[in-house]
């Protein structure tokens, strides 16, 4: 049982054919030992042979033994109750958390007031002009059309609420992230300390961040902003540090040779040279913040996310879509504008003075604001809206009647979902849950060690064990089964698309805009179409996860395949290799690190959506969080949140290729 992962390796090891050898078995072992992968497995098998009988004898071979769990619900409930009781009296809340919360609420309110004061005309004009100044005419047109669409859909007020929350959250995230990144960029020690934390934070699903914030701050705008900041600041910190650390050493030396002080070096050389990374950091932070600001509706963030959340809870696809479209449009406008700022070169000093353009933009915005006021309406005029909810719901009902079942040949989407659940998810879940607990630990250890190092293996095993200790073993296995199935589908589809995209520039050109749009959309909005197509359950959650993770997988994999050393490809061609041979023997092996990265990303992204799938009937850990929030049962939610974090950490580490592992596996 313990060595069940070893046989495939043994088969590939050369058999001991030499007759003069002392013992064929010894020779076989030696040959096995020569392979690093086999060596790791042998060590693991030896450790298992000692430990497993002991563990199995003590705690049985079923699911995680109850003797090894720690029930945290009592102390957590106690802590939660204490916080609720003392929120208005204890000094920590009065003088610290209270002020933070108050400041955030005041800031969001102030921004919201300004947006309202600008009116729909002013906001649209400001957005268009900023986009024009930063990114050019095309993006400006997109911005105008997008804001107009938000108004037309009757979503002006929720859009402004989301925007106000976003502006505050992004400002704080960028400030916090830039400061952390500055520290990590300038000091090696800080960098070493910070990097694993940032890496881990990036692997965790958004849902895991919600509950700790709620525990301290309750439900409302302040915790929503804080959760958003925690989620969105890491990319800024990471990219700032990266930008500062990758400064051209030659330039730094030259600056030093001119007698610059440390501060001069930072302000005149390192920061300007890191401009591209800094702006990319801002872009990523904005996208992450939007994604989280929408999800944070489950902890009381007002706005578009809340509309989607409310609509989804009553399976009102039409209303969900009406709120979902503005989210997507907002995402596209924000992404295009900030991405263009990073892509363009530094502002040319020979160009006419930049403030003239900005002053012009301000004047135009002001005049539009005044014009809007004279028309009499601050928010979008009621008469100008188009109600799409009813027609969309009619269309959805038609789909339910005609596409769900009974289609000749394919059977319909509901049938597909039922088959996926019944034939793939259920057996997988039952299998994982039937797996002895020590077997699961061993499997994770073997996988993580084969792909990475003993460190990643240790982290992965400890994370999985922590889930068991928390008493969320069965639920986590359920979530894990959903993740594994969705990842498998994602990888099959992703690599199938990536290979032609890597080989044909035309396919790549066709795919690029599609990928661009899909990659900018927040996870949350993917739930809307899948609910329309597949109803409620685990299958729609899986479908949303696949669609969300697919673009990243296609992009990373095709880029990896395309970037394979052209010299190696040319020599393979010159030797007469067929297309398939080139792919199998040159491209796949050389692109291995990139392909592994694609797998890693697939796992991380799929997990984040599968968890959110708790909102549409995905069950398991995600539902526990939603349930905990909805019922005010923070202990349940918090434990599930920690389990989610552990699961995320485990999955990330299992699939994390490291440089040192290139000789392995």
């Amino acid at each position: 049982m313990t060595v069940h992962t070893a046989p495939p390796q043994m088969k590939t090891a050369p058999p001991g054919r030499d007759a003069t050898a002392p013992h064929p078995a010894a020779l076989f072992l030696r040959a096995l030992w020569a392979r690093p992968a086999a060596r790791k497995l042998l060590v693991l098998a030896a450790a298992a042979a000692v430990l497993v009988p002991v563990a199995a004898a003590a705690h049985g071979s079923g699911t995680w033994p109850s003797a090894l769990t720690v029930d945290l619900s009592k102390p957590l409930t106690g802590a939660s109750d204490w916080i609720i009781d003392n929120r208005d009296s204890h000094w920590a809340f009065l003088y610290f958390f209270g002020h933070i919360s108050g400041a955030i609420i005041a800031a969001v309110h102030a921004v919201y007031t300004v947006l309202l004061a600008l009116g729909w005309a002013g906001v649209t004009a400001a957005a268009a002009l900023i986009a024009w100044r930063v990114a050019g005419v095309r993006v400006a047109v997109t911005a105008t059309a997008s804001f107009a669409a938000c108004g037309l859909l009757g979503m002006w007020v929720p859009t402004m609420r989301t925007l106000a929350l976003m502006i505050v959250a992004v400002a704080v995230s960028v400030a916090v992230g830039a400061l952390l990144g500055l520290a990590a960029g300038l000091s090696d020690r800080t960098f070493r300390a910070l990097r694993p934390v940032l890496d881990t934070m990036q692997a965790l699903p958004a849902f895991a961040y919600l509950l700790p914030v709620v525990l301290v701050f309750g439900i409302g705008v302040a915790p929503a902003v804080l959760a958003t900041v925690v989620y969105a600041a890491p990319p800024m910190a990471r990219l700032t540090a990266l930008g500062l650390r990758s400064t051209d050493q030659g330039v730094l030396e030259a600056v030093e040779s001119l007698g610059a002080t440390g501060r001069q070096r930072l302000l005149t050389a390192r920061l300007p040279l890191a401009r591209r990374e800094l702006l990319l950091g801002v872009n990523q932070t904005i996208m992450m913040a939007l994604s989280m600001a929408v999800i944070a509706s489950v902890i009381g963030a007002d706005g578009l996310g809340d509309r989607v959340y409310q609509a989804l809870s009553t399976v009102d696809v039409g209303s969900a879509l009406a709120a979902g479209i503005p989210i997507v449009l907002l995402a596209i406008v924000l992404d295009r504008t900030t991405a263009a700022a990073g892509a363009s070169g530094p502002p040319s000093s020979s160009a006419r003075r930049p403030w003239v353009g900005w002053a012009l933009a301000a004047v135009v915005t002001a005049s539009f604001t005044l014009g809007g006021r004279m028309l009499g309406s601050q928010t979008w005029p009621d008469g100008w809206t188009v109600a799409i909810a009813a027609p969309v719901n009619t269309a959805k009902d038609w789909m339910v009647d005609h596409l769900y079942t009974g289609l000749p040949g394919i059977g319909g989407t509901a049938d597909l979902a039922a088959h996926y659940t019944g034939w793939i998810l259920d057996p997988l879940r039952d299998g994982l849950q039937a797996l002895p607990w020590w077997g699961a630990l061993l499997l994770v250890a073997a996988l993580a060690w084969l792909i990475g190092t003993w460190r990643t293996a240790l982290t992965a095993v400890l994370s999985l064990a922590a889930i068991g200790v928390l008493g969320r073993w069965e639920l986590s296995m359920d979530t894990l089964s959903q993740v594994l199935a969705a990842v498998a589908v994602t990888l099959v589809l992703g690599f199938t698309i990536a290979v032609p995209a890597a080989r044909s520039p035309r396919v790549e050109r066709l795919l690029r805009p599609v990928l661009d749009v899909f990659q900018t959309m927040p996870q949350f909005v993917y739930l809307i179409p899948v609910v329309a197509l597949f109803g409620i359950g685990r299958a729609p959650a899986a479908a949303a996860a696949v669609v969300y993770a697919l673009p990243a997988v296609v992009r990373i994999a095709s880029e990896g395949l395309r970037r394979v050393n052209p010299g190696a490809m040319e020599s393979a061609r010159s030797l007469g290799a067929t297309g398939g041979q080139q792919l199998r023997q040159v491209q796949f092996p050389l692109a291995r690190p990139q392909l592994l990265l694609a797998v890693n990303q697939a796992v991380v992204l799929v997990l984040s959506v599968v968890i959110i799938g708790g909102l549409v009937g995905g069950g398991a850990l995600g539902y526990e969080v939603v349930f905990g929030l909805a019922q005010g049962d923070l202990a349940t939610g918090l434990t599930a949140g920690v389990a989610i974090a552990c699961l995320g950490l485990m999955l990330d580490r299992v699939t994390q290729p490291t440089k040192g592992a290139r000789d392995g596996a």
Partner: protein
Amino acid sequence: MNGTGAGTGATTEQMPEQTPEHAPQAAADAPAVFSVRNLWKVFGPKADRVPGSDLAALSAEELREQAGCTVAVRDVSFDVRQGEVFVVMGLSGSGKSTLVRCLTRLIEPTSGTIAIDGEDVCGMDKGALRDLRRHRAAMVFQHFGLLPHRSVLDNVAYGLEIQGVAKAERRAKAAEMVEKVGLAGMEDRRPGQLSGGQQQRVGLARALAADPEVLLFDEPFSALDPLIRRDMQEEVVRLHRDEGRTMVFITHDLSEALRLGDRIALMRDGRVVQCGTPEEIVGSPADDYVRDFVRDVPREQVLTVRRAMRPAAAGESEEGESLAPTTTVAEAIETVARTGTAARVVDGGRCVGVVDHRSLLGVVAGLDSSRKAAA
């Protein structure tokens, strides 16, 4: 320009251990700008223990095995005199780039002393060191080290900006420097829009803008095409002729060293193998390594008639063309071939010797060194 500088008639510094007190005295009338004594730079763990210990005697290979250290500069001593172009030459890995960085402590030396105008560089605190880098020694780098986000003019003005010079003043000064290096009209371009040669002109202008006492060049033209390199070398020669600024020039290119250098220090494995005028390096190689190095040098272009001449026989000191002692053999050959007779070498109105076909051809054929060695 070859060998006509301060080192005329100096004795060759044959032994690397020899300190410059015993070395070229003839040009010692010019005070030393940089004075380097027993300089060591060792990279690796516990580098301090290497100089002065038993480890110092080990070869680079043995040291790496026994102590895990790499020696970049090994017990180097020399003087850079005011107004001269001092070239440090060696193949890659010989420690020359490390050596020049030690001069302004861009790389901290392990041991030894460096003095600029008699002032101890190693003992300077941060402020004094900054002052040294800002006003007294400016460096030009192989890969230019320009700031890509600034215009040419702002790059040139950058050193002055660091010093805190007011904007109008530094821009005026920078414009003057841009003009001087022949980039007028390109002030608003970015470094990325310039060719390699132009970028290095910007680097040169930036170094000149601070009006430093010494210019340090770290293989400035190695990354350039041969023709551009030639242009830039002439630029440096012109600058030196016009301003007489002291220069320390690092190169791996022998012809560049011979063309620019008043004196050349030849480095190998961190040591200075030989230090002397181009004529001394080519004419009297200190060891087989140097001899090998200069084997392909056209000797008649570097050596002067001083080396080719023989004592004047009776009557010869009165007639024939007269040549200065600094005339190269190639030029003398031209004179002798034209006139068909021997030529006199005249130094200060006095005939110091005679060159004829035989003696000149002897230099070209390399017979002179064996003759000198035999003598």
